[in-house]
Amino acid sequence: MKKTKIKSRISWAIAIILAVAGLIIAIVPFIFMILNSFKDKFEMLTNGIFALPEEWSLANYKTVLEANFPRYFLNSVVVLVISLTILLFIAACASYPLSRMKFKGNGFIYSVIVACMAIPVHITLIPIFRMSQAMHVYDTIWALIGPYVAIGVPISVFILTSFMKSIPKEIEEAAEIDGCSRFKMFFKIMLPMAKPGLSTLAIYNGVTMWNEYIFAYTLTQSADSRTLPLAVWDFRGQYSMDIPMIMAVLTLTALPMIILFIFAQDKLIKGMTAGAVKG
């Protein structure tokens, strides 16, 4: 009995040491980023990367915010809000008949939409690049909305359909007896009831869109129409030797997620793992 106790003590000690090691690995790059973002260009190399800044100077942040950074940020926000609104609305529309109505082809349509989850989106890149030129939206933020909606559709329909299936049918049946039309039923009953599913999906898709890179990189070119993930790329072109400046850009880029994490940690984690754990 005593032996097992000692053994479990030792294994706990090892587990905690490993846990702390993991913690250090997880946060050291972050500390590297934040610490150095306050430094002067040369200070970082002369004083060593882990030295505290001589003064906590906001000069780098000021330069970044006075440059084109706010524009990237605004572009990201506009693309996110529009794409997310369209995506959630049309996904909810599609999930309603898929979860509630009996019609020929229901199962087939559902499986085709869900199968799209496995498609590597890169295969659509070249044709979408051509389409954006043909539609005269190339190099504008509008070029991003179509692909962003499409990328989010399969998983959103998948999650919302199973969510709507779990909503009890009694309310609708009562509403139907009262002569409520299917459209009214969708807007007055299904949409409000599906709110928890929608909010999870808003976070999941929002994070994906906020971080999306390859389409933004391909479909836009000028600084005025680019989104946040490309800000670092463009700043590096300008300040390639000024590492603290780039760290300031990176910190600012990560800031919205960090704030969201601080204030809505559980929701964020739930949303980000939505794809895996089904809502």
């Binding site: 690995i25 971080n211 780039i246 895996a276």
Partner: protein, 299 residues
């Protein structure tokens, strides 16, 4: 009477069909325009010799595809993808499971670990790529600085073709292991409290509980985690493109970075489309085979 009822049913069904079509139309339209048509179009473009800019292109049949079959760079990229895939599954999922198990056993006190461990997931792949380009730089990087502190020399992990791919795989693990941690934490909550308590009452140690009871119960979710990680690794792009651009040489080239370079840097849209098509076919095949194997084992 019966006939009447029937026609009423038929009419209702027709009504339902109409409503369903209206509700489904937007999603179907979006998928056709942005997914299905582009897939077909990619295969069409793959039969062309076209630079993506000029109006004229030449039909060259299957030439691009024949070239692809003999293209060493593409198959190197494919092998790199397989390495990333296998090592990602072998590193991230066991580590994530270990972290989740720690959180599960240590209870509420360990919340701070869970929160701080999750931090790498808060950055986009692009930002992580940039951060580590500098954090792992030969001059002024973290590893180099530590090595110098311990009396060693500078360490060039990304510039060395032998270490670059493994370094990148490590960075990917840094970013995504927290995802599998919260995934496994969520899976643990599906095991009922009673099972845990009953096993402790029966005198099982925590180790026995993990290996004999929890692990078999977690197996289905670990399988889906593996599939998730597999599909993700095969289409990986952002982080590698930013960190190494596929280099040095072709040591970290992946199918997606190769496709991007051929199409948008070398302006070989035709050949780039063949690479995209090849990637599509390979990923679909691998996914189908893996799912067959994993589901087959269940019976």
């Amino acid at each position: 009477m019966k006939k009447n009822k029937n026609s009423l049913a038929v009419r209702r069904q027709r009504e339902v069909n109409k409503v369903a079509a209206v509700f489904l139309a937007p999603v179907i339209l979006v998928l056709v325009v942005y997914i299905f048509y582009p897939i077909v179009n990619t295969f069409q473009i793959s039969t062309l010799d076209w630079n993506g800019i000029s109006a004229d292109s030449t039909f060259i049949g299957l030439d691009n595809w024949i070239e692809l079959l003999h293209d060493k760079a593409f198959w190197t990229a494919f092998l790199n993808n397989i390495k990333v895939m296998l090592l990602s599954i072998l590193i991230q999922i066991p580590l994530g499971l270990a972290m989740a198990t720690f959180v599960e056993f240590a209870g509420k006190k360990s919340t701070i670990f869970k929160i701080l461990w999750f931090i790498p997931q808060l950055m986009s792949s692009v930002a992580v790529g940039f951060l580590f380009t500098y954090a792992l730089a030969t001059n002024g990087g973290i590893i180099s600085s530590i090595s110098q502190l311990l009396g060693g020399g500078l360490v060039d992990l990304l510039g060395n073709p032998d270490t670059a791919l493994y370094t990148v795989i490590g960075v990917i693990a840094w970013q995504f292991t927290p995802f599998y941690m919260v995934y496994c934490v969520a899976s643990y909550t599906n095991i009922s409290e009673d099972v845990y308590e009953a096993s402790l009452v029966d005198g099982a140690t925590k180790g026995q509980y993990f290996w004999k009871i929890a692990l078999p119960l977690l197996k289905p979710s670990l399988k889906s985690a593996a599939i998730l990680s597999m599909v993700g690794s095969l289409k990986y792009f952002d982080l590698i493109y930013v960190m190494t651009g596929g280099g040095p040489g072709t040591s970290t080239e992946l199918m997606a970075t190769y496709m991007y370079k051929e199409s948008f840097a070398n302006f070989n849209m035709g050949y780039g489309s063949a690479v995209a098509g090849g990637m599509f076919i390979l990923i679909t095949l691998i996914s189908l085979i893996t799912m067959r194997i994993l589901n087959g084992k269940e019976d």
